[in-house]
């Protein structure tokens, strides 16, 4: 009988210590710490994509030039209270806009370096038929810039966190702002006063 209890207790202890993994739908909202998370990133991407495609800047450009505008992603600065990876919603936006067929993107300044290095390498090592020449890059018509700002109001164990994401599409030809996207998110975070 004593052995039985010992085995049962050990099993419970082992079960309590083991890592548990539950697969989730990527659209499911789980807020753990109250900080910026995948749901916030998705909400921003959804809003920005919807807004960018519902305004006439793409059709105006296409009407004038007879082709889809080319966009380069500039700097999206994180001026918030948290270390936020802005690449997630920028990548979502890029994908949705390219797939819509109304906008084309060119490599950003950080991506370009690697591509140019590869092209230089091709110049030396690739066959004539497969070699890509330098000087054939497409210049962007617009640059996407932006920033994330926050206001945090804290009192005791409570915090109100307000996030504002602003994205701007600026014409490379004349610095004209052709689209301004904005998403605001507000959260009340109540930290536990007591833990076990």
């Amino acid at each position: 009988m004593r052995v039985y209890w010992a085995v049962l207790l050990s099993s419970l202890l082992v079960a309590g210590c083991s890592t548990k993994v539950t697969r989730m739908d990527v659209n499911e909202t789980v807020d753990l710490s109250g900080e910026w998370n995948d749901t916030d990133s998705r909400l921003v991407a959804d809003e920005m994509i919807r807004d960018a495609l519902s305004h006439p800047w793409t059709s105006n450009f296409a009407g004038e030039k007879g082709r889809a505008p080319t966009v380069i992603v500039g700097t999206v600065r994180n001026l918030s209270h948290e270390h936020i990876n802005v690449n997630t919603f920028v990548a979502d936006m890029e994908r949705a806009l390219i797939n819509s067929g109304r906008v084309e993107f060119v490599a950003s300044s950080t991506e370009r370096g690697e591509i140019r290095a590869e092209r230089t390498d091709q110049d030396l090592n690739a066959t004539e038929a497969t070699r890509n020449e330098a000087g054939q890059e497409i210049g962007a018509d617009f640059m996407l810039n932006g920033q994330i700002n926050t206001i945090v109001d804290a009192e005791g164990d409570e915090q109100v966190r307000y996030y504002q994401v602003d994205l701007t599409m600026i014409s490379m030809a004349n610095n004209k702002k052709v689209w301004l996207g904005q998403k605001k998110i507000k959260k009340l975070v109540e930290n536990a006063k007591v833990r076990y």
Partner: protein, 441 residues
């Protein structure tokens, strides 16, 4: 009711706790070792320890700091971010840990860090991000430090309010071209120093004078002109501004004192253990630089020796209350056991005494003081008193001379114990929209 069957547990508990106390004592002696050897050697010693989960926050603070002063800023911020997450998650009051502290000793609590340590964590992470050439991430840390200091603010005492944190905030805002925010932070730094009866460093004086004039705060500028005996010359066109952040010494670690006495009226031995700071042996020394025929010296913006003592002093009422509660609970336990069995009572009395240990955990590898200096330096190439490391265009840390170009702002991070200098350079063209103080005529 305690029974003889529970005796092995009661005897083994202090043995187990003594093993934990031994590890705590090893960590508490590392501050002395850091002054005698390299940060890399101390880091190896620290990494050879296997800290209990409740001490993980303290462990990561120390490894993060050692990595930082060794120049491993990525590794440092990984550890410090983990420490930050742990400390933040432990701010709620724990029922079980309080019970453990009331029955056995204070070291059964998870390490949550003192208010000053929690703010200094952001200060160090901010410096690390600057050295990684990530100004936006450094800005995130100064914003978090600001929120934390607001949360910790009290009307009676400036606990958790750090002049160095506000000074670094001001610097980060200034590097970012946010001069109005920089002014607010420098002002807060000066106010805290005044509250602590500390002299405002010349670098802070010149920032307050320069920014108040640039922002058109005429009354405030006049007040500073009267308060500070300092001539404010705009830097020459071919010069850069050098800002030095110097970490001097290693802060004195906490020690524990245990008093054990036989109390005849209780028929028991009673033990009390309390943490304290021994008198500081720290002798303040500044970092002196002689460059381009000019002599520059750092001045104290934060006295961490004083901060640590103020934090412990602030906590002392709660520590004394818990010590008293523990004494009463241990007395009751031993008395109850003695009534049942004299030998059991004696064993429990010994166990109660042995388990009484002071909580001497702290971020004990911090510097004794944080000092700053700020001066203009003509463009050129300079040798520094310690090896200088800066980021190459590929992002690697390389040993080099200090190369100064006109219009730059260069932040030098100088941890005295590692005898190395790390730098961050903000070129004049890095932020085209930023407004320069030197533009003021």
């Amino acid at each position: 009711m305690p029974s003889i069957r529970k005796t092995p547990f009661a005897v083994l508990l202090p043995v187990f706790l003594q093993a934990c106390a031994l590890q705590m004592n090893t960590v508490s002696t590392l501050d002395g070792r850091l002054e005698q050897s390299t940060p890399e050697e101390v880091l190896l010693t620290l990494q050879s320890l296997d800290p209990p989960e409740r001490d993980l926050g303290q462990y990561l603070l120390n490894t993060g700091l050692l990595e930082s002063i060794s120049g491993d800023f990525e590794g440092a911020n990984r550890d410090l971010q983990s420490a930050k997450d742990i400390l933040n998650s432990l701010q709620a009051t724990s029922v079980s840990e309080n019970l453990g502290a009331a029955m056995v000793n204070e070291t059964l609590r998870s390490y949550v860090g003192s208010p000053s340590e929690r703010v200094l964590l952001h200060v160090l992470m901010s410096i690390n991000y600057l050295m990684l050439d990530d100004l936006d991430a450094a800005r995130v840390e100064v914003l978090q430090a600001d929120v934390l200091m607001k949360e910790l603010a009290r009307e009676d005492e400036p606990i958790g309010q750090l002049a160095s944190a506000h000074y670094i905030s001001g610097l980060v805002y200034e590097l970012n071209g946010e001069l109005d925010s920089a002014m607010i932070s420098y002002r807060k730094a000066a106010n805290i120093m005044a509250l602590r009866n500390m002299r405002t460093p010349t670098s802070l004086q010149s920032s307050l004078l320069g920014l108040s004039r640039y922002l058109g705060l005429d009354d405030e500028h006049e007040k500073y002109r009267e308060q500070f005996d300092l001539a404010l010359d705009p830097p020459a066109a071919d010069s850069a501004e050098i800002i030095v952040i110097y970490w001097d010494g290693v802060v004195t670690g906490k020690r524990g004192k245990t008093i054990s006495v036989w109390v005849p009226s209780l028929n028991q031995a009673v033990s009390l253990a309390l943490p304290y700071y021994p008198p500081s042996n720290y002798i303040r020394k500044s970092f002196d630089l002689s460059l381009a025929g000019q002599h520059h010296r750092t001045e104290t913006v934060e006295d961490i020796e004083a901060l640590s003592r103020a934090d412990l002093n602030d906590e002392s009422a709660a520590i004394y209350a818990m010590t008293l509660a523990r004494m009463v609970s241990k007395y009751a336990l031993v008395k109850s056991a003695s009534q049942q069995n004299n030998n059991l009572g004696l064993l429990l009395n010994i166990a109660a005494m042995l388990s009484e240990t002071a909580d001497i955990r702290s971020w004990n590898l911090l510097p004794s003081s944080i000092q700053v200096a700020r001066f203009a330096l003509p463009a050129g190439e300079y040798s520094l008193p310690y090896p200088h490391y800066s980021r190459s265009p590929q992002g690697e840390l390389v040993k080099t001379e200090l190369v100064v170009s006109a219009g730059e702002k260069i932040v030098l991070f100088v941890p005295d114990v590692s005898q190395r200098i790390f730098s961050y350079t903000r070129t004049a063209r890095a932020r085209p929209n930023s407004r320069e103080i030197k533009a003021v005529e």
